[in-house]
């Protein structure tokens, strides 16, 4: 399963990092970092991050 973030849509709200801190974080440079390849056990967390993103920037590809 792959987590994609549309960086054109992303407005750096950081809601994803609140909902799924293991998958999303911010680097020293302020840029969004995320784990791209995750296994099935992280699906719920990834979906939660996608749901809380106010810009609908996060998609999950199977």
């Amino acid at each position: 399963m792959k987590i994609c973030v549309d960086l054109v849509r992303c407005q750096l709200h950081g809601q994803c990092a609140i909902a799924a801190p293991k998958l999303f974080s911010f680097g020293e440079d302020g840029k969004l970092q995320w784990v791209e390849q995750v296994d099935e056990s992280a699906r719920r967390e990834a979906e939660e991050a996608a749901d809380v993103c106010p810009e609908q920037a996060i998609t999950i590809e199977d």
Partner: protein
């Protein structure tokens, strides 16, 4: 098994509730009924990008509509259907077109409607903002040089003012409080935001009350008279004076509808096992703050409360106490405001970083902490990157009572 779940209100909360029910393994029928004819869409851009941009209706529907999970493929949508009555004993909801639907479990997600200023005059030039159609109608009037009066300097009012200014309108904000957004972020931060708005050319009338709308005699607006006697000449007005909960259809069931729908900490409506509420309409005790039931009008709350409500319907799954940390954001004049926790409940605030002077605030940003009886209950960041929120969030978490 809970049988047929009827969700009334087809927006963010209704959508999330249905998704959560499916996620929790409910395979029975779900109907989502909503007054708007559109599929659920995202409202925050309505006062921001929708007003400043030029995308047409088709493009906006495309970008604002929420993505639908495949798990909702078999949900029945009843759109353009306004619920007008409900019988919680018979378990039946009636709609404006005369149709009725019965249910085994009911989810209330009918949200809010903008409050109107209860004075006549100039009706053809008075706008409110809650729906995409409302935003499109307002945008059509945002032409450079026009004079706009924004009544109410809360978040939506401030965002509309900033967006209209960007389009070249002359904007005056009229507010009863001492500073914009004062209830939400306090006087100090409110005054800093006011200075920012002023530096962008927006005028303020604070501690001001409206005495009347001056009509040209044909339903169009000539100006607004304040109680001080001053007249604000304007071509159009936006009423952003808060909202009322859409509870009319629930009347007659003996519920406490004094401010939204009263829920317990499990999002059950007054303890009923078969009726839940979520989102802007739900007044619930959030143990993050205390046991006082309150409504929270933030985008992140529908997600949290819908999940909790879905768990409650699938009864045995609701566990522990529910204490979602409120969070919201706002965009004004290119600055992002981020709030975490409940700054409005604070009794004192302090500057944690940066500066509140307009020029410096633009360059360095600012972070404020809000304390309630010593405990850090909220933070507000203005013009700081999201990474800083991660830092300040921890200060709020620490203060949390368990």
């Amino acid at each position: 098994m809970i049988g047929h779940v009827l969700v009334v209100g087809a927006s963010l909360s209704g959508l999330r509730l249905a998704e959560q029910l499916r996620g929790l393994g409910h395979t029975g029928p779900i109907t989502i009924a909503g007054a708007e004819t559109r599929m659920p869409y995202n409202r925050p851009p309505l006062s921001k990008d929708v007003l400043t941009g030029d995308d047409d209706e088709t493009a906006l529907v495309q970008s604002l509509s929420f993505r639908l999970r495949p798990s909702l493929d078999d949900v029945t949508w009843k759109l353009g259907a306004t619920a007008v009555a409900c019988d919680l004993t018979l378990r039946e909801v009636s709609f404006a077109d005369g149709s009725t639907l019965s249910y085994d479990a009911l989810a209330i997600t009918t949200g809010l409607s903008p409050r109107r200023v209860p004075l006549p005059g100039g009706e053809k030039d008075r706008y409110v903002l809650r729906t995409l159609d409302g935003a499109l109608a307002l945008r059509a009037r945002l032409v450079a040089g026009a004079r706009l009066a924004v009544i109410g300097a809360g978040f939506i009012g401030c965002e509309v003012a900033a967006s209209a200014r960007k389009r070249g309108l002359a904007v005056t904000m009229i507010e009863t409080f001492e500073a914009p957004m004062q209830r939400a972020i306090g006087l100090t931060a409110g005054q800093a935001m006011q200075a920012l708005h002023r530096s962008e050319g927006i005028d303020f009338r604070l501690r001001a009350k409206i005495a009347g709308f001056i009509d040209r005699g044909d339903g169009h607006l000539d100006g607004i008279r304040l109680e001080s006697g001053e007249v604000i000449a304007c071509d159009l007005a936006v009423e952003a004076v808060g909202s009322t909960a859409n509870t009319q259809w629930l009347a007659g069931n003996g519920l406490d509808l004094s401010d939204g729908v009263l829920c317990d900490n499990a999002m059950r409506v007054e303890g009923r096992a078969d009726v839940v509420a979520a989102g802007d309409i739900a007044r619930f005790p959030n143990l993050f703050a205390d046991e006082v039931p309150r409504r929270i009008e933030h985008w992140t709350i529908p997600g949290f409360t819908a999940k909790r409500a879905a768990e409650s319907l699938i009864k045995e799954m609701v566990q522990g106490s529910f204490a979602p940390v409120p969070a919201f954001w706002s965009d004004q004049h290119g600055l992002r405001l981020q709030s975490y926790g409940s700054p409005s409940l604070g009794d004192a605030s302090e500057l944690l970083e940066g500066s509140l002077c307009p020029g410096d605030m633009r360059r360095q940003g600012a972070a404020l902490g809000y304390r309630r009886a010593g405990r850090m209950i909220g933070v507000v960041l203005i013009g700081l990157p999201a990474g800083r929120l991660a830092h300040y969030r921890n200060l709020v978490e620490v203060g949390r009572e368990t």
